[in-house]
Point group: C2
């Protein structure tokens, strides 16, 4: 059952235009499923976990009842979309689009 949910998530993530790769990680930052090679998957898992953790922490410093729902990290080379869910964190890497 869980693996079907994950397969479906990955398909949905990959279906967006410009997607280079998608990684699904658990709340401990471990790679559950990925369309990328192992080394690259681990790098993006580590990035997503670090940026999520620092964002959640900083948000809660301001308002303990608040919570992170989505993160977009845009860089010179690509854009990383990070969507934390109850159990998983979905990480999508895609080419940068125009809109901010």
């Amino acid at each position: 059952m869980v693996s079907e949910v994950i397969e479906d998530m990955l398909k949905r993530m990959q279906s967006h235009p410009g997607v280079i790769g998608s990684v699904i990680i658990n709340k401990e930052g471990q790679v559950i499923k990925s369309t990328l090679d192992n080394t690259t998957s681990l790098q993006y898992a580590s990035l997503a976990t670090r940026v999520c953790d620092s964002s959640v922490d900083a948000l809660r410093n301001i308002d303990p009842t608040n919570d992170l729902t989505f993160l977009r990290v845009r860089s010179k080379k690509h854009e990383i979309l990070i969507a934390p869910d109850k159990e998983f964190v979905m990480v999508t890497i895609r080419t940068t689009t125009d809109g901010a």
Copy 2:
């Protein structure tokens, strides 16, 4: 000269729909200019600096030639747009819009 540039930045940031407040900080995380009260400005300066630093660091772990250009931190209560520039970091807090 610099203060005119900053005033202009702040005006542009404030002109976007749904903007709750805007803070301009320097690369050390100090508040240069803000439309918010002092305590709130310091809180968002701290958040922006922490999330920027962890993002830049994580991005460079993957590719040392890459660099952060924009960050969007969406939470249950609002959305924070962080635009690092050469000298300053522009932080805009606004109500969450529909589009991701």
